[in-house]
Amino acid sequence: MTGRFSSAEFLAATLARLLAGSRTVAVGTSSPIPAAAAVLANLAARQPMTVSLLGSSRTNPFTSGGVELFDFAAQGRLDSFILGGGQIDGAGNVNLVGIGGYPTSRVRFPGCYGSAYLASLVPNLVLFREEHSPRVLVPQVDFISAAGRGPTGTYRPGGPSHLLTGRALFRFDHDRGGFTLLSVHPGETIDSIRAETGFAFDTDPSVGETPPPDAAALVLLRGPVAAGLTELYPNFVQRFLKTV
């Protein structure tokens, strides 16, 4: 995954494909690769797409303050959101709070942000974590910030659709409540993924290699995407996009 493109570029381009067809996409704070993916998806889209980067003044169509994105999602107007996680388990639960006890966690993460809410409401919730290890992808999260599936008999139009890591791409099956491996990134195998994943998962019969970014995506990432991200992520742009 080195050479012609960086790992960040590979992941952003892969995430962007998962956003294709969305009319509206939002990305949280402290999420440079997801932000790059959303801006790329918008640049590549053939249908109108609107992107909101939380915390941005420029890439943000909202004018009612921080609450508007959440209201927008509850109305069913937000198609896609990309969510990270300190731990992610095989049931699609995400932990953004901490490891080892609560409240005095041994390892404390920043907090839930909007995840507890958006995970139930956004139809195309893409989970993303670059680190793919048994430490992150666990059998059961220590704290459920965002639930993969809700209690029965609850209003829940949304939920996880995919999980992208630095090693592989999974689909989330709502009925079964578990992940299915869709593709492995260059250099990985089904076995290497199994060895690095702390939870059980199914394997899609047509599992193959995650395709690399095409030339057009790289041109966009290094030009207009980089320019668009400089407001929020100047360091990321400098370090991880091969800006031209």
């Binding site: 003044s57 303050g65 609850t154």
Partner: protein, 271 residues
């Protein structure tokens, strides 16, 4: 005409108006954090603040926590953005010296909006299935009374901060404050019993008299004091006014990994 009081004060007077033990509402690091005022608060030795973030924080909360001025925090998240984790926040929670009320962004917005609307609670979709509910006994799940179908829904109680403190672009002397699209600050001001604001500049006139500016203005009705503090978010950015001081932020992120490193840097910042 009834007199219109001049609400301008100096930074130290503003800081002096925030008592220890206040329930203090602050905005996200990207939404106008009053860092200069926070340092002024620390200089005068404020203690036992109960912070509530609208809806997250970063450097500002970490600073106040590291300085030992915070007893409790309600937040949807504290981190330093591109500069990583908020170490003083994390250490204080792990050590049990900071009481944490974990929340999620829309629940904090709902709590402030409930207060601003003068209602005891607002309902909120989502959240069901999250462990947050197990640790927030004040969040109540009821069956939606408007339907026969199974439809549990969360009620979030109103949050009434004693004081809201933030930084904004402009204020006039009457206390009208221009925040543009950062309307969570307007909601904060409505929700709080008292609102104190530092600003980049003083507008010579009445912000409400200009229809273009009025649309982004918090009316003076909700504002108690404004202090002119250009660059009041430094070293954090303030959009259109102050760029981020990345060197200072990186230094903070490094130094604050230890309490000693933090203390040394804070002493420098307070000097």
């Amino acid at each position: 005409m009834s007199p219109r009081p001049d609400k301008r004060v100096g930074l130290d007077d503003l800081a002096a108006a925030i008592p220890s033990r206040s329930l203090l509402a602050i905005p996200a690091d990207y939404g106008g954090p009053a860092i200069a005022a926070s340092l002024a608060l620390l200089r005068r030795g404020v203690r036992d603040l109960r912070l509530v973030t609208a809806p997250t924080s970063g450097l500002q909360a970490d600073l106040l926590i590291g300085a030992g001025a915070v007893a409790e925090i309600e937040t949807a998240g504290v981190a330093l953005g591109e500069h990583g984790m908020a170490h003083r926040f994390r250490a204080a929670i792990s050590a049990g010296t900071l009481k944490i009320k974990d929340a999620t962004c829309p629940a904090l917005h709902a709590g402030f909006q409930a207060a601003a609307k003068g209602v005891p609670f607002l309902p909120l979709r989502g959240i069901l299935g999250s462990d947050l509910l197990r640790h927030r006994p004040d969040w109540t799940v009821i069956q939606n009374p408007l339907t026969e179908d199974s439809d549990p829904i969360v009620l979030v109680p109103a949050i009434h901060p004693d004081v809201a403190l933030f930084h904004a672009a402009l204020a006039d002397r009457f206390g009208n404050v221009w925040v543009g699209v950062r309307r969570e600050l307007l909601t904060l001001a409505q929700a709080a019993r008292r609102t104190l604001v530092t600003v980049e500049a003083i507008y010579d006139g009445d912000l409400l008299a200009d229809p273009l500016r009025a649309a982004g203005t918090i009316p003076h009705l909700y504002i108690e004091q404004v202090a002119l503090v250009p660059g009041g978010t430094k070293p954090l950015a303030y959009d259109g006014h102050t760029p981020a001081d990345d060197a200072a932020l990186e230094r903070y992120a490094e130094a604050s990994r230890s309490q000693d490193g933090f203390a040394a840097l804070l002493a420098e910042w307070l000097a």
